[in-house]
Symmetry: C2
Amino acid sequence: MRLTLKETAQKLKTADKILVTAHINPDGDALGSTLAMCMALRQLGKTAQIYIDDKLPTNLLFLPHIDEIKRPAEGEKFDADLLLVLDTSPDRIQKVRELTTAPIVNIDHHVTNKNQVDDLYLEPDAAAACEIVYKLCRELNVEITTDIAVCIYTGIATDTGFFKYSSTTPETFKIAANLLECGVKPNFVSEKVETRTFNDVKVMGAALNNFELYFGGKVAGMYIDAEIAKIVDTSEGLIDLIRVIDTADVAFMLRYQEENLIRLSLRSKGVNVSEIAQKLGGGGHIRAAGATLHMSLDDAKKLLLETLSEYF
Amino acid sequence: MRLTLKETAQKLKTADKILVTAHINPDGDALGSTLAMCMALRQLGKTAQIYIDDKLPTNLLFLPHIDEIKRPAEGEKFDADLLLVLDTSPDRIQKVRELTTAPIVNIDHHVTNKNQVDDLYLEPDAAAACEIVYKLCRELNVEITTDIAVCIYTGIATDTGFFKYSSTTPETFKIAANLLECGVKPNFVSEKVETRTFNDVKVMGAALNNFELYFGGKVAGMYIDAEIAKIVDTSEGLIDLIRVIDTADVAFMLRYQEENLIRLSLRSKGVNVSEIAQKLGGGGHIRAAGATLHMSLDDAKKLLLETLSEYF
């Protein structure tokens, strides 16, 4: 950890035009933290704009102000005096990096953060980047409006699997209590986040007809092939369907994204899957990690099972 | 509400031999509240024993002291000076009622509680009976050991769908924070609660191939027929697979239990399903309710769709 929370707050205070971003393949924590941070900065009188170089998942479009998030165009520039990178090292922001040459402040809770900038605030014990954003709001004396609270709550809820993961601490729950007092309706957030199309529920059924156990049941693997991928809206939560199998220590999902582009998700009850993901060029947490594989689904399956065989 | 919390605590203090029970088809809150209460009473030097007239679900067998729960035998008697009924009116405790003629104290959080006894402590705003048990422990100066905390946490987590339902309040989260400080590992509880057998995951797949939309997509219904029911261990959570469909206000599951015995579960995003359940002889909460139907699966389906047609 290089910056302290106070120093991070100070960096934000002294900037005027702030470009806010997070990782591609954005999830609830990436979107919740950038949106909450952007609203907080505007409350402090700053110019703040979010750019994310990816599509946004349909089930998160309910987040306040999400329609203001921009995707960088080829060669586009943005006049900023600070680039604030949330929930990832700056290597996963793609074209956003080319928008500005402003200095970077990086705020993250991933233990696998690559330490690419000096101005890094890393809190690996935080359940979500949104937990850090909550503390920053307090530090900056920002009023936590219902909109800000909804964004922070969504990030915390999604990154902890609705308070199920080991990253959930007493502080996580205390923050959640306070966010409810700021106006969050937990059922509203959960219903929105978990909303699936009829097709996605059909996909679940299809995925559950395409899963296998390996290594004597210790690993459960699920495949979303090109055929199924065509009708998938969001694949979030699919892996949890097999993560729960009593014999399984590790669950994985390989999802066809496009020709020679496979997304791997890993979940664990004990084994350090962040280590496995790193071997495959990805990263994440001990119990939840992922990687992007540039190969066919079959090759990805072979490579993954080979890598897993070192552990089982 | 007839008893206050203080009066309820007083009733428990003055009793010596306490028979503790909850509803049949016991869930995490029924088991968590009876187990936590029983441990609390023993800590106060009382004789306390839990009886429940049903099988216990496999995924909850991790709860501390659950192996001490007894099922009443035909004609069995139990020497008690108080019968403590948790999480239901006394009409859903079956043969436990015949174990003793001791006076009843009833503690519940269901707004549909049938007010069958004078000594009723009803807190319809509590997210779970376990929330009330937590407050009773505080009131009785019981030390919340890790075992007690795990039971209370499990009841709260399961009855709120892991903090997703509208019943979740700031107080729910504050209690959860405190239970973590008492030693609960949230990932341990969620992993245990959500553990499914390989068969159950296969059942999910089968159930997802046996669901339909009704009333223009506003109702989603799922069927567990005799064939699938044979391999089901627990059907908890199955209904949530279709509850999430974007067009659906109400989700239901009809599950074959035995010849002419069908269990109905209802979930809602707005409609009062407790009212619908009551029309069919059941009860519950506004957004989560259920009933037991003594007829065939086909007849249950017909009757339910007829009842639903009054709303859609």
